[in-house]
Amino acid sequence: MIESYLLQSSSLTKLFNKLIETRHIYAPVKKGMVTSFNRVESLEEVAKDYIQTTISAKSILFLRNEILFHYKQENGDVKIMEPDLQRIPELVIWGCRPCDAKSFKSLHSVFNWDYKDIIYSSREARSAIISFSCNQADEYCFCTSAGSGPGHTEGSDILLTKLKSGDYLAEILTEKGQLIRDMIPAIFETPSSESKEDNLARIPIVFDTAGLKQKLEQAWNSELWITQSMRCLGCGACAFVCPSCSCFDIQDEKHGKEGVRSRCWDSCGFSLFTRHTSGHNPRETQAERWRQRIMHKFSYLPDQQGFTGCTGCGRCSRACPADMNIREHLAALINDSTSPENRVA
């Protein structure tokens, strides 16, 4: 149901100003070397020149710390106060890259798989995603090898592609997108004939997605897990900047008789992630944890949900303090010949 329009460069402000009348807008803001999604009040605040934000757009829907409920102990009982999801404002994620937008698909399915997480879903339902295609990329980007691309539409409600003229090609992709168009229909003009593809960054395909899952499964006993992860420091930077990583911890905090139970980001790279209180740890070494990270994204999720948990944004590689490069390591694993035998039958 893609509808294409032309959006003049001057109309961008109009669109923004229209939206902010009724919605909270989160957009990339640059501070020093770091660009992150912050609540903005005007288009001027929004970063102009960024390949990718440091933290992904997931932080807006899947909060770093999400309060699941409050509680209060009284008269020998406990009163539980659930967050009022109706109070979540309507919001717009502005300036998302296609890879981030695509990752919402994976978050959506994890949070709705079997048990529906209404906290995530409520935020998702109240948000519209206005993405911008990429006209530049860096050497960490590998979306084209991860089933996404610089002009990929999946996950966005509206995708804007900047044309050479300075105007934008606006693709309305969903009902939410249409709703936004209808808020200010005048600026959505008939598109020119300029090709979208010509205005997109060229990102070479480094490996073949097809068969990736199977090849990784074959590499289960590979030496590469060890050699690649030797320099891994075991921090959570990769997972926390990742747009698809959704693992979390549940924690209580209490002051006196009142407290909250909240959900906060966690990372499979932490050595304590799977450690039992007995001291036993099913994934004792960093190599096993590194394998978990890769397998989860490229084997387990495809099995369960039908798509990978990686959109090739390259953030983890950029953020890694020890230069673990996922693109490079995946390519090596695919071409690995160190372990012919296949543990997972």
Binding site: L68, F248, I250, H276, Y300
Partner: protein, 279 residues
Amino acid sequence: MDEKNIYVPYRMRIEKITQEAPGVKTFRLKFVNDEDALSFSFKAGQFGEYSIFGAGESTFCIASSPTRKDYIECTFRQTGKVTSALASCEEGNVIGFRGPYGNIFPLDDWKGKNLLFIAGGIALPPMRCVIWNALDRRSEFGNITILYGARTVSDLVYKHELEEWGSRNDVKLITTVDPGGETPDWKGEKGFVPAVLEKMAPASANTIAIVCGPPVMIKYTFPVLDKLGFTDDTIYTTLENRMKCGFGKCGRCNVGKVYVCKDGPVFTYRQLKSLPAEY
């Protein structure tokens, strides 16, 4: 409202606390809300998230039988933050419970078969649920044999129930303690569970073996069962990986592609063999 916040637990009142063994307690829990009690049901093998408001959640199985409708029971050993907080609770306190989660022991598939329960230490609770369930439906099954071992006599849990099972003539109960763990008046076996199992050599024909225990016990029990002629499909066990959510989202309990919280915790030996050793 069909959409509810899946993280919000039921409030449960501790009705009864039993000290099972040093550091091990059993709670009998009743729903604070009667409606919750009515809508709640579970099957043998399932688990839940028990929580202390202020300390957090901890995962263990439901140890009572689904045939006992008005309460659930759990048995835990005090090890970490939450279990310590639980251990300091008194009767009448309110705690949280989410569940039931996970798959089940396919009791219905076992109709007409002999059941051999093999448990070690604190791993009797997940089995107790099935045992009582089977005992409550006693006529549907053949011989029921329970082999239970612990390090010392005082580490044996459910002592009163062991007595009850031992006195029934439709159950064969063998208890054992590790060498050196016996008291002077100990009447049971002495020796590790696999060795005792090998000695008693139960028949494998038409028999389901359910094995729960510490990793070492499991490791040495499977080969014995194998030798006794049990096929991989007739051996069941449960896994206990660290969990937070209980419903396949938090991402830590998986063994390879299998989520213990959703695909487990009950696995056959055949399934287990196909998994990497991430448990």
